[in-house]
């Protein structure tokens, strides 16, 4: 009985377009799993579009469109693996590789372009030299500048923060 009632209830959150920026770290896995859970909660899971994005950061000493085979191969590998994972769950996804000077602005721009309802990004637990927590450049930038909501998942760590 309860099961049927729940089925009739609309999902608490509805999504049509989800953007998942990926950098190849173990944090990618968390965002993929969360996205899968969210999709399963939707009335029409197949109608949800998932956009997997990897940004190759090109330093200024090279031209922006200068392609580095190793970086391209890495992008293909992580996006391919993510796609395989989602396919196993019968979720279709688009993948995109973008070259930019910095990942943050590229993600924000892409979210606008894709009309994403949400950006889901993973974050590794890192400490700066000296011990304070380091959120990196990209996640804070996206948090600060994205019009779409941003969900950031910090992965588990055994390394506890020392700062009070």
């Amino acid at each position: 009985m309860i099961f049927r009632r729940a089925e009739k209830r609309p999902p608490l959150l509805t999504f049509e377009r989800i953007l998942i920026p990926m950098n190849g770290s173990e944090a990618d896995d968390s965002s993929l799993r969360l996205a899968a859970v969210l999709i399963a909660s939707q009335h029409a899971p197949r109608a949800v579009a998932i956009h997997l994005l990897h940004v190759i950061e090109v330093p200024f000493d090279r031209q922006l469109d200068d392609e580095e085979p190793r970086a391209i191969a890495f992008a293909d590998e992580i996006l391919g693996r993510a796609e395989d994972f989602l396919t196993g769950l019968e979720i279709a996804a688009e993948t995109e590789v973008v070259q930019a000077r910095a990942a943050g602005p590229a993600i924000v721009d892409d979210a606008v372009e894709q009309r994403a309802d949400v950006i889901i990004m993973g974050l590794r637990y890192k400490k700066r030299f000296g011990g304070s927590w380091d959120a990196g450049r990209t996640v804070p930038y996206v948090m600060r500048n994205s019009t779409a909501p941003v969900w950031c998942l910090r992965v588990a760590t055994e390394d506890l923060a020392q700062t009070p």
Binding site: P59, F60, D61, R62, Q63, A102, A106
Partner: protein
């Protein structure tokens, strides 16, 4: 063209904006983090937040493939060093320095900075245009300062007023390129008679300048 701009003050910011609008690739090196962020927010990921006089940050900004370096901070010494490091370490083909003290222009040229731009001199030029001066006004230098393009304004006491161009005893190599009368430019002919208020555009050289001034404007 790939342009590295050193200094993200007002000059650097507007220069970068215009260069981007003209379709060039630009990177700004600015050491003040809040200023750098402001520019990045406005113009995109084209800012290196560090000291533009240091080789390693110039390397980070891609100075190795730059066609032009423009050092436009408010400090002459920083602009000089930024350009010299860019030339010495990265062989940047063209260097442009903003020079605040106009007296530094000559030195910078001597130190193989390709172009100097002095806002002070520019404003001075405008002011000198407005009020009568008893000197030659420098408009441009060519050939590393050897060839000077100057302007002489003829006031009432000028010795050449009322004389024809052919009567002037110009030194060999000196030329009157144009006579500006009112708002009209007149090509000088041998029979052109010079009047009060005429502005003469002349080509001369640094060592003949004093002589030319005496001839046209008087001692």
């Amino acid at each position: 063209m790939y342009v590295v701009v050193v200094g993200g003050g007002n000059v650097g910011y507007y220069l970068t904006k215009e260069l981007l609008a003209a379709g060039h690739e630009v990177v700004v090196i600015e050491k003040d983090p809040s200023r750098a962020r402001l520019i990045a927010d406005e113009l995109g990921s084209i800012v290196v937040t560090n000291d533009g006089c240091e080789g390693r940050y110039q390397a980070e900004a891609g100075m190795g493939r730059a066609d032009v370096v423009a050092a436009v901070t408010g400090d002459d010494e920083d602009n000089l060093v930024a350009c010299q490091v860019a030339k010495m370490r990265f062989n940047v083909p063209r260097s442009i320095a903003r020079v605040n003290n106009p007296k530094n222009e000559r030195l910078f040229r001597k130190l193989s900075i390709d172009e100097t731009v002095s806002p002070t001199r520019a404003i001075l030029g405008v002011i000198e245009h407005e009020i009568p001066v008893h000197d030659l006004l420098h408009l441009a230098e060519l050939g590393g300062g050897e060839v000077q393009i100057v302007e002489a304004q003829l006031s009432a006491g000028a010795p050449v007023v009322g004389r024809e161009v052919r009567e002037l005893e110009l030194a060999e190599g000196d030329t009157i390129a144009m006579v500006v009368r009112g708002h009209r430019a007149v090509a000088p002919r041998p029979e052109t008679r010079l009047q009060i208020g005429d502005k003469l555009l002349l080509i001369t050289s640094a060592d003949r300048e004093a002589e030319l001034r005496n001839l046209l404007i008087g001692e």
